[in-house]
Amino acid sequence: MSAWLTTLHQTFIETGYWRQMLLGLQNTIMITLGALCIGVAFGAILAICKYFSEGNRALRPLEILCDTYTTVIRGIPMMVLLLVFFFVVFSGTRNKLGVCILAFGLNSAAYVAEIVRSGINAVDRGQMEAGRSLGMSKLQAMRKVIMPQAIRNILPAIGNEMIALVKETSVAGYVGVMDLTKMGERAKSITFDAVNPLLVVAVTYLIIVLGLTRLLGTVERRLNRDKR
């Protein structure tokens, strides 16, 4: 046990590498949060566009556009998408972190869009009709009646998406972004300690995911307070 602690001390403290690890963690969190914001916002917009364009002939091009987006994005591995962003769309960029956030965000949006769409569809049709029969516009009924109920269906799945996203950001190192995994890799090659850097990286991801799970549980309970 004490031998292990000594190795840990050598690997992270004596080399001062703990600072790099923290920086990596910071980058991972920034990519995740940034991508999540883009993903949820853009995904929700996609889903609502799809909801309003379904069965409306004038908005058919919009529907096709949304469908194409989700199909293409979901059909391409995140890794490939990241490479395309770095070496084709934004080749020669200096703001690596920004491009990374955008790539993960746009990828996430496709999944979020499907989650939100199915969450909206799961709300009973009668709810929209009741809202409309009172004189609400489709948008008003959406905001006041459908979305608050849909969020309950959506939240657990968004939680899964968040967890997947945190872990997926670990491929960012592939294009030279200094995220947690990349920093762990570097610590490994500098200190020749193969075990501990990876162990620390793995445990850190686990802690983040556990934290997210608890947070989601709390939010879910508060949303369901009207259920008997």
Partner: protein, 240 residues
């Protein structure tokens, strides 16, 4: 008040309503009866355009609702609707169910909307359930709240789509009682129902709808005591 002209509704090749003409006057209490699949609910849902008619016109207080240029939302505020499945908003308390539309659409102050809601709740005997969630109410209570929700918009006409069909038998009475009082107070009502007793007692006119057409129409007396067409005779023999 509502003038239905040559109303036709098709779902694909299936003609559900075939060139229906009806005139509904202020103060009318009209019950629509008929076998299931006759198009009763579709007819009612066309009146406030929840179903878009394939052809024909719905003239409500001088406005043609089938005209795409007309602001439907504005006219729907004056047509209350009560659904078979209640369709209360489960994420809102009873009070919020009642006040959300008046506050949002008529820009009423919260106090005024709540005062009216309380008064109406008192009239249907639910004044103590204002803070309950819909999931805590019985079916009969839910439907009474749903009626009050529609009334809170102070509509000119109330549409009822089989309001008692989803209720346990012992709860049917309390809902019909509320509807009777509403009719007595002079509300214009169109009621799709299987409650023949209610139709006989409360309606001033009955429409017998079968195979997408109004086969017979008249006072409760004429319909129940002296039915003319064979379809109506057969229907009454089954339900009475």
């Amino acid at each position: 008040m509502i003038n239905v002209k040559q109303l036709t509704k098709r779902f694909g090749d299936l003609v559900v309503l075939d060139r229906i003409d009806v005139e509904i006057d202020k103060g009318d209490v009209i019950c629509v009866i008929g076998p299931s699949g006759a198009g009763k609910s579709t007819f009612l849902r066309c009146l406030n355009m929840l179903e878009t008619p394939s052809s024909g016109q719905i003239i409500f207080e001088g406005n043609d609702l089938t005209d795409p240029k007309v602001n439907l939302n504005l006219h729907r505020q004056r047509m209350g609707m009560v659904f078979q499945q209640f369709n209360l908003f489960p994420h809102m308390t009873v009070m919020d169910n009642l006040t959300c539309a008046p506050i949002m659409l008529k820009k009423e102050p919260k106090e005024k909307a709540e005062a009216r809601a309380r008064e109406l709740l008192r009239r249907v005997g639910l004044e103590d359930r204002a803070d309950a969630w819909p999931s805590q109410l019985s079916g009969g209570q839910k439907q009474r709240v749903a009626i009050v929700r529609a009334l809170c918009m102070e509509p000119d006409v109330m549409l009822f789509d089989e309001p008692t069909s989803a209720l346990d038998p012992e709860m049917v009475g309390e809902v019909l009682e509320v509807m009777k009082n509403l009719a007595k107070a002079g509300m214009t009502m169109v009621v799709v129902t299987h409650e023949m007793g209610f139709a006989r007692e409360v309606a001033n006119r009955i429409l017998f709808l079968s195979d997408g057409a109004i086969m017979e129409e008249g006072t409760p007396q004429a319909i129940f005591q002296n039915p003319q067409c064979d379809r109506l005779k057969g229907f009454l023999a089954k339900v009475l």
